[in-house]
């Protein structure tokens, strides 16, 4: 009658995501912006339309750019700067080279437009006739998507010093909604936009980031985040802020599930401006009543292990490739390297041998990194080989080089380490196979790819194990959990998972020893106490099981299963009165908990039997 369930935990690694520019409304459409090469170039007729479209969305009060470009007076003061940055394609910031595939919100000036800026500056930046001036663009004040359903604010500001190198700070936003919400968009208000280079949100359902704070609400430093997760859902969503961007609204059926108590972690890239600033971001959450029905997957190619770049190497190449086991629609792409990145290329070789450039960034600049959304989703059939080829410059010619003189640089999470990552946001695009199945096939192939690439990587081994365990292949899962535990012998999560797999395979004694390691390393680990309770119970060591289930229930008072198993163990040890109390609590916590219902009935039946023999 005792029903014992073990639960699995997944560990995922995330790195920062941010999104490419999306333009705010503009009165002009692009074809009208093609220059006609007039003899005399004026602001009102020739320059304003380009400026309003490409520059003003950021160059206006309250936005990220350091000065406004909304009027003739604004632009005249910077006429030569504008011509120079346009010629060097420093501004507007847009990393990808033009190719066959188009991205949303491309911000690339034509050669003709650049020539106009130059001509205008050289002619002394004349204003022109008032009647030529197009209307000043109107921007939505405040929240770009209208009043949010909920606004969350960072509890404590972060003090950014006046000088120093780039600063990466993470803010934790706690949520406490009464029920699950479906989030269609999150608008990030980063605070003083002029010092925030980009910001993005990661979902932390297990509060795994809180331990990194010195004091509650302080936030914590770090460029790349690792967040534990018990499922694979959150990484497919991208919530970002970057200068000039408007929030991305997920289409119907692709909303993010936000459960009661989930944390949102905002990762920010800050740059000192010359004066000290107080940064206190807020988030506007927009809900939808349409739950998710489509679940995009983030495919990750990476080869950090190959990153061991000798000082002075100006063209250090790193590659990786992955063959798609199922057809997908490619929605967005996010290439990521740190300060030594130089030339980043991603290609797809289709089964028919044809090749597509997915993205090419000939002059990488971390400061303008972003997620690039394709104008139209790209179909990549099963068997397509996705490849990345990144080139790094660790010479002193690379001005972004964090070391002077250059030093050996290896892969890692610190800003002075290097990274070789490429993410593709894809939607499984079935054909004969159902989407959720092709999603699992994809994720398992990715996990295998990761293990092959990094056999001594703890997370890679752990994740593949978790994936295999989730589809019931405990024997295979066990192998990978064992490697994970070899790599980190006292890791609570890996020992808990290994214990869970051993338990499922019937080796309860070995499970107990792993689970004891887990609870010793992390005494407040409710899941490990719960699993340990199960292991004891299956060895009929009910007194010890009761202690563990009680601890799991104490640590997680909302856990109906912990209460149910506590009740069951109490019943097994003969304490029917207390068993009934806990089973009732379990049913109250989760009226759908049929196991608790069954056990409660059984306990009641036995109690009535014993009182009326």
């Amino acid at each position: 009658m005792t029903s014992l369930h073990s639960r699995l935990f997944f560990l995922l690694s995330f790195v920062t995501l941010s999104l490419s520019f999306a333009l705010v409304t503009s009165p002009q459409n692009r074809s009208n912006l093609e220059p006609a090469f007039p003899a005399s170039v004026t602001f009102n007729r020739d320059i304003a339309p380009i400026l309003f479209h490409y520059c003003s969305p950021c160059h206006r009060p309250g936005e990220a750019a350091p000065f406004p470009l909304l009027t003739y007076q604004d632009a005249q003061k910077f006429a030569r700067v504008i011509a120079m940055v346009a010629e060097r394609r420093i501004m507007p910031p847009w990393l990808p080279a033009s190719g066959d595939l188009k991205f949303l919100g491309e911000l690339r000036l034509s050669d003709g437009q650049i020539a106009l800026f130059r001509q205008w500056a050289d002619q002394g930046a004349p204003e022109g006739h008032a009647q030529d001036l197009p209307p000043t663009p109107q921007f939505t004040p405040g929240w770009q998507l209208g009043k949010p359903d909920v606004v969350l604010s960072a509890r404590k500001p972060h003090a950014l010093p006046a000088s120093g190198t780039d600063n990466y700070w993470n803010f934790i936003f706690t949520t406490n909604f009464l029920s699950t919400r479906w989030v269609s968009a999150i608008e990030i208000r980063p605070g003083e936009k002029r010092v925030v280079h980009h910001a993005n949100i990661l979902l932390d359902r297990l509060h795994s980031s809180r331990a990194q704070q010195q004091h509650p609400d302080d936030g914590f430093p770090g460029m790349e985040l690792r967040i534990e997760s018990e499922s694979f859902d959150p990484d497919s969503h991208i919530f970002f802020w970057k200068p000039g961007s408007i929030p991305h609204v997920e289409p119907d059926g692709m909303a993010l599930r936000l459960d009661p108590g989930d944390d949102l972690v905002l990762n920010t890239h800050l740059r000192p401006s010359g004066k000290s600033e107080s940064i206190q971001p807020s988030l506007g959450l927009y809900f939808t009543d349409k739950p998710a029905t489509q679940f995009p997957v983030l495919l990750e190619l990476q080869n950090d292990k190959a990153l061991d770049i000798p000082p002075g190497a100006a063209n250090f190449e790193v590659t990786d490739e992955f063959t798609l086991p199922a057809e997908v629609q490619l929605l967005a792409i996010y290439p990521h390297a740190h300060y030594l990145g130089k030339d980043l290329l991603a290609t797809a070789t289709l089964p028919d041998g044809s090749e597509k450039t997915l993205i090419h960034i000939p002059r990488w600049d971390l400061n303008w990194q972003g997620v690039f959304y394709y104008e139209t989703a790209v179909i990549l059939p099963a068997g397509t080989r996705v490849s990345m080829r990144y080139i790094y410059d660790n010479s002193s010619d690379n001005i972004a080089n964090p070391f002077h003189p250059p030093q050996r640089v290896v892969g890692g999470n610190r800003t002075t380490d290097e990274m070789a990552h490429l993410w593709l946001q894809v939607l499984p695009h079935g054909g004969a196979i159902p989407a959720d199945q092709s999603r699992r096939v994809l994720q398992e192939a990715l996990a295998r790819h990761d293990v092959l690439r990094n056999p001594s990587d703890f997370s890679a081994q752990y994740n593949l194990g978790a994936m295999l365990q989730a589809r019931g292949d405990y024997a295979e899962a066990l192998k990978h959990f064992q490697v994970a535990v070899q790599l980190r012998s006292s890791d609570a999560i890996a020992n808990n998972a290994l214990g869970g797999a051993l338990l499922a395979l019937g080796d309860s004694s070995s499970a107990v020893s792993r689970l004891l390691v887990a609870v010793r390393s992390k005494p407040d680990y409710a899941s490990a106490h719960y699993n340990l309770g199960n292991a004891y119970a299956s060895l009929s060591r009910f007194d010890e099981a009761i202690v563990q289930f009680a601890e799991a229930a104490r640590l997680n008072p909302q856990d109906s299963m912990a209460e149910a198993n506590l009740g069951a163990a109490l019943a097994e040890s003969g304490n029917l009165a207390e068993a009934e109390l806990h089973l009732e609590k379990a049913v109250k916590l989760d009226p759908q908990n049929s196991l608790a219902h069954d056990d409660l009935e059984e306990v009641k039946r036995r109690r009535s039997f014993s009182s009326h023999p």
Binding site: P66, F67, Q73, Q76, K77, F78, A79, R80, V81, M84, V85, R88, I90, M91, P93, A162, S163, T165, R194, P272, S273, G274, K275, S276, Y339, D365, N367, I399, A400, N401, P402, H404
Partner: protein, 199 residues
């Protein structure tokens, strides 16, 4: 055009002959009465060279809205303190449309404790042969222009900065001027925002 490797473009803008003459003479000496048109923040006529007495004079050209000169604020403030014994530092705001109130706010926001002057007629800018913010000019106690140009090599071009500078051109020039040694360079192009109205 203000990037180190690119030669400065010859670009003739007509201006009154008296300024052209000043530009010419400034390379050799700076007559004490040429600072007329320079104003303090109360709108009074000011002359940094007269008030500096026998000290070396360093003029730092800034504008309130230039992101690059703004990022240099802690460096400039630190240099002004480090060399306070030998050098009189002045912040020079050459943009005509920047008001005294804007400049006062700027000084407060960026923690400057350095005297600030307005140069709406670009007289000091021309005498210093500068065209960018931030750009520095170092004058000997005899008011000879010893150095003009970048503070250091932090910025390589607009929006592209090193993690930290690898040269310290202004500090080196001041050290040389203080010790009476020859300067290694009389001018190194600066990276930043153009000062409108100058060639």
């Amino acid at each position: 055009m203000f990037v180190g490797s690119t030669p400065r473009k010859k670009h003739w803008t007509p201006f009154p002959a008296v300024f052209a003459l000043l530009l010419f003479t400034a390379a050799f000496s700076f007559p004490q009465d040429t600072a007329s048109g320079v104003l303090d923040l109360d709108g009074r006529s000011a002359d940094p060279f007269r008030s500096a007495g026998s000290k070396i004079v360093v003029l730092l050209f800034l504008r309130t809205d230039c992101p690059i000169s703004n990022r240099y604020a802690p460096t400039i403030q630190e240099l002004s303190v480090r060399y306070a014994g030998h050098v009189a530092f002045y912040l020079i705001y050459p943009i005509k449309s920047e008001s005294s109130d804007q400049i006062r706010k700027h000084l407060l926001d960026f923690g400057y404790h350095v005297p600030a002057l307005r140069d709406p007629g670009l007289k000091l800018a021309r005498a210093s042969q500068v065209s960018i913010t931030p750009e520095a000019a170092v004058f000997s106690p005899a008011r000879k222009l010893l150095y003009h140009g970048r503070i250091d090599d932090w910025y390589v071009e607009f929006t592209r900065a090193r993690r930290a500078p690898t040269t310290h051109d202004l500090a080196d020039s001041i050290e040389a001027a203080v010790s009476g040694k020859p300067l290694s360079a009389a001018s190194i192009p600066a990276v930043g925002c153009y000062i409108p109205g100058l060639p």
